[in-house]
Every structure is written in C-alpha cells, then in structure tokens.
C-alpha cells in the first residue's frame, strides 16, 4: 500500500511542479525526485520479493496504509526543513530581523 501511496504522491507533485515550471521557488522538483526515488526502490523491492517469495504483490491492510501516510508525512517534513533552511521567500530573515 505504501508503494501505491508514494507513487501517487510522486505523480501529483510532479504534475504540480510541471504546471509551475520553469519557476521552482518552493523546490517542488526536489520533492518530486525525493518521492520518485523511494517509489522506484519500493517497486524493485516488491518485484524481487514477488518473484522470489511469491504472495501478494501489494500489501493492502491498515498497517500498510498507516505506513504509507507516515512515509508521505516524513517526506513533506524533510521538504519543509529544506524550504525553511533555504527560505526562498525570505520570511525567516524578515521575522528574525523583527
């Protein structure tokens, strides 16, 4: 389930990045690659596990769904830290100056 949710997040963020491009003030390109990296890695993980161990390709249950939510929250959290550190709008600079 977390693979589907991460892939969905990657597709949505990439679409928003494309609509806003070439401007990338809020680092949506960064977030999109972040999601795509994990989507690709989990896809490889699922494919190899399915071939070697069998069973269901997608794990669809409450635990897997909660993991999907946690993964998206962590990605957004890391993205927000990157945004705050780079501070493209200069909001923090202005706030700190008083």
């Amino acid at each position: 389930m977390w693979l589907i949710m991460t892939a969905l997040a990657a597709v949505i963020v990439t679409a928003i990045w494309y609509v806003k491009a070439p401007e990338d003030k809020y680092k949506l390109g960064w977030l999109s690659l972040f999601f795509w990296g994990s989507t690709l890695m989990w896809l490889v993980d699922h494919v190899i596990a399915y071939i070697t161990e069998g069973g269901e390709f997608f794990e669809i249950n409450l635990d897997a769904t909660l993991l999907g939510v946690a993964v998206i929250v962590l990605a957004l959290f890391v993205w927000e830290i990157v945004l705050l550190v780079s501070d493209p709008k200069g909001v923090l600079k202005k706030a700190l100056r008083g």
């Binding site: 977390w2 991460t6 960064w30 690659l33 972040f34 999601f35 795509w36 990296g37 994990s38 690709l40 890695m41 989990w42 896809l43 490889v44 993980d45 190899i48 596990a49 070697t52 993991l67 946690a70 993964v71 962590l74 990605a75 890391v78």
Partner: protein, 133 residues
C-alpha cells in the same frame, strides 16, 4: 533487512563527487556547461535527490517493521549471527538492484535532458568566410 544501506552508500559517494564537481565548475566557470547548458553538478544533484529520497523513506519503513532500531547494533539482524548471512544476501540482491535501477533511470533522465537541451539551443548559421573578390 538492510537493503537501503546499498543505495545509501552510493548516495554518500555521489554527494561527495557532486561537491568536488561543483568546486571544479566554480573554478572553470561556464566553460563546462556551454555545450548543452546542463552542468554535471546539476545532473549529479538529480541522482542524489533520487538516492537520498529512497534511502530516507526506506529507512522509515525498516524502522516501522522493527528491522532498524535506535540502539546498537542498530540492525536487528545483527543480533543473531544466523541472520547476518541472509541480511548480506538481501543487501546484495535487493539493495544492489535498487541502486542499479536508480542509476539507470538517472542515466535515461540525463540522456533525455541533454537531447532536449541540445534541440532547444538556437542553431548558429554558418557564414561563408568573408573576404576575397
């Protein structure tokens, strides 16, 4: 078990390479990017974002499943000697395949970007050599 450690290793190396390339490009100036407009530091930054994104989110999944813990030896498979060999096997198969897939996808990305950038560049018309009657 610990498959994400292989892409993480690649991410550490690629980040170091990106920093070195960035410094070189600053010294050389725009000369290195004048062919297509895409610098190698920018291309490497795409690889690093893919690798670090996958590594960080997969690390969370491993913590969620109890395969990584915040105390030594950090990997639960390391607590039992019988689990070490399967862990290394998993790192080689799953982790190796992940790292290769990300690198291949990145290779395709830069290939497409280079072709697009070259196609978008204004064509310089060749002028006949001046002079002569």
């Amino acid at each position: 078990m610990a498959c994400f450690l292989v892409p993480m290793g690649e991410a550490i190396v690629a980040t170091a390479v990106q920093k070195v390339v960035e410094n070189r490009e600053k010294k050389v100036g725009e000369e290195m990017t004048k062919n297509t407009g895409l610098s190698w530091s920018r291309k490497l930054s795409w690889l690093n974002k893919l690798l670090w994104g996958g590594t960080i989110l997969l690390a969370l999944e491993h913590v969620w499943h109890g395969e990584v813990v915040p105390w030594p030896p950090f990997l639960t498979a390391m607590e039992n000697p019988a689990d070490i060999s399967p862990m290394l096997h998993e790192m080689a198969t799953f982790g190796g395949a992940m790292a290769i897939t990300i690198t291949v996808v990145w290779g395709i990305m830069i290939l497409v970007a280079e072709l697009k950038a070259k196609a978008a560049m204004p064509k310089v018309k060749e002028r006949p050599a001046s002079g002569g009657a």
